[in-house]
Amino acid sequence: MKRIHIIGAGLAGLSAAITLSEGGIPCSLISLQPSERAQSVLAEGGINGALDTMGEGDTPAQHFEDTMRGGVYLADPNAVDNLTRHAPEILRWLESLGVPFNRTSEDIALRPFGGQKKRRTAYARSSTGKILMTAVIDEARKFEARGLIHRYPRHEFLRLLTDAGTCRGVRIRDCYTGEICDLTGAVILCSGGMNGIFPGMTTGTTQNSGDVAAVCLAQGVAFGNLEMLQYHPTTIGIPGKRCLVTEAARGEGGRLYIERGGEKWYFMEEKYPELGNLMPRDVVAREMYFVRRQADTGDQVYLDMTALPEETWRNKLSDLRQELMHYLALDPKAAPIPVQEGIHYFMGGILTDEEHRTNLRDLYAAGECTCQYHGANRLGGNSMLGALYGGRRAAQTVLQGEIPDAAESPFTGEEPLSTPAAPALIRQISEILLGAMGIVRKEAALKQALSRLDALHAEYLRGEYRILLARAMLLSALERRESRGAHYREDFPEKDEALRKPIAAAVQDGTISLEFRPLPERRSHAGNT
């Protein structure tokens, strides 16, 4: 039997499943909860692609340049070239699935987004992720009905089945019955970001616990750039988490300011006249951090959307307004919104090549769980694109290779990974990391965090693996003795061209080793215009 096992049913997993189905290869689509609960539904502002429907002469080459520059040239240029060249096609595919994108009189409308010089972000008001997911879920359902996609929609990843550098399958547990089974065959990991390493402190979901990453790291899967956490400039605190205020708020004209000498200081516009409030997220978040610490300023940054036209609120940001009124009891049409940086995305993750292969044979990865496309800082609008394209590309790689046989069998032995880490330990790890891996970092704090981690005691294996992942994050942040993108070192505030390389973290016999790996050269034929 041929069947590929996909871990995660968000955009990346769905995209991989649909691509495999179109190629006639069945898959298992394994997720803790149904796709409707995946973090992809939280994406708001839009998805990038150089469709050039706004008559600005945009091209995939410019999308490539913006993505590389936004990621401070730490991404694989050939992978980014693939991504940006295929982005228009991805948007047209979504359009063909009936995604009700906002439109001009003739075509898909595009909005300005951070770090991009042309309008290239397609959107459905400010709920793009949810609207797009509905259409992609419908498309996947067609293949479920045809027997190509087999859902395991309440199933937890426990571990990879590995053997001498090869992935032989995956062990999963039915969360309702507790039954464990082994699925042998090739695996595509689409397990999302590591939000659960920072419970309650990110804009993501509780489902993305970080456990898949922790277990895979411990099992020898190589990770990259674990120091690269994206702090989104505009989030608000709501019960239990940070809530994103979409970058589209600034794309549509929202302005950041802080009070200085009794006046509103629009610091981004003053410091960065070209892109102003739409500088890449790492830059905006860092500026917010620093202007708050100035002696002559207030301690709160505001997002001012009061000058936005009525039409924008009605057709482009209606859902954002409702959300802000609900959570803050503030109408953004009438009053500026207090905002703060919050952890939003993990640029680091499983290292893959541009075909989405990992270091283990027959193991592939796509979406936010990977270290791919975004370098040291992801541009807004590139996450859903990276998930959809990455899932598709991983599946295409599988289809082009030799597919191992698959089987399903119950597992009745002892599985220590069935027991979750203790909530108290999870919180302790999070507090230690947050203290050292904020927007500004320095060696002393990172080293202190490492020694505090060493003092922790994990009762269960998943706790141990979580500590291991946290160590790898801190060690990566220590090792990168420069400032690049989301990683800002107070003690090394400049970029170092010699360090323009991803840091690979790998575990062997419980020990973490780090290594700067050279980036591939951009292929000459990869130029796009």
Partner: protein
């Protein structure tokens, strides 16, 4: 505030449910049932007791995972402020009643997804959403598949031929988008599984956590699928 959380618990479907009471105190007036469950579980785990099993994901009303019955009303735990849902200092929390209980507050809602497969909610050919229909498609696309509308519906029972509003909204997206000639099969299924079973009680009207204007969507979809009338705005 202080409240007694009264939670209907059971270790498994076979076990008879029982109420357990947990005194709860918070200084945060915005705290929700969801955040209270998170904190309560930390305390229970630290004390070596069984945590309350429940499902959640986004914690901001966008995924539908945490639907349950709170002080008698189906709603999302992340949307239930303790101050709003307490009655005489108590908050009663129980699983949705229309679905098989797995344990504590977890129910098996897989019937929702089976029904969408039965309705054949997918496209066989490319369509482009534009004009007035795009606005309807947008609204229909926001359905969370949480099950709150089914919980309150007098006509829905799992396994029955009537699929309720959670089946309706995704179908409505496609009926809004498909050209007339291509929507016959879907309209037929729609009439059989939605239109004919709906008693028009409109109990679901104000229950949707996503705030979908169900009546507006239904008027338009019925016009297209049943009455062959033009779309309204």
């Amino acid at each position: 505030m202080q409240a007694i959380l009264e939670i209907l618990r059971r270790a498994s479907a076979e076990e008879a449910p029982h109420w357990e009471q947990f005194p709860y105190e918070t200084a945060d007036e915005n705290e929700t049932v969801a955040t209270a469950l998170v904190r309560l579980n930390e305390v229970l785990c630290a004390a070596g007791k069984n945590p309350i099993r429940w499902e959640c994901s986004c914690l901001q009303k966008k995924c539908g995972a945490c639907a349950m019955v709170i002080s008698g009303k189906p709603m999302l735990a992340c949307d239930a402020k303790l101050t709003d849902v307490q009655k005489h200092g108590a908050v009663r929390i129980e699983p949705l009643r229309k679905f098989p209980v797995i344990t504590d507050l977890i129910v098996d809602r897989s019937i929702l997804f089976e029904n969408l497969r039965t309705l054949s909610v997918w496209l066989e050919q490319a369509v482009i959403a534009q004009g007035d229909r795009a606005a309807l498609a947008y609204d229909a696309s926001r359905c969370l598949q949480c099950g709150c509308c089914l919980e309150i519906c007098p006509n829905f029972c799992p396994g029955g031929s009537f699929f309720g509003m959670a089946g309706f909204a995704p179908a409505a997206r496609l009926i809004a988008e498909l050209p007339k000639a291509q929507r016959d099969a879907l309209c037929k299924a729609y009439r059989a599984h939605i239109y004919e079973g709906c008693g028009k009680s409109l109990a679901c009207r104000n229950i949707c956590p996503a705030g979908i204007d169900i009546e507006h969507l239904m008027v338009n979809t019925n016009a297209a699928a049943v009455w062959k009338l033009p779309w309204r705005k």
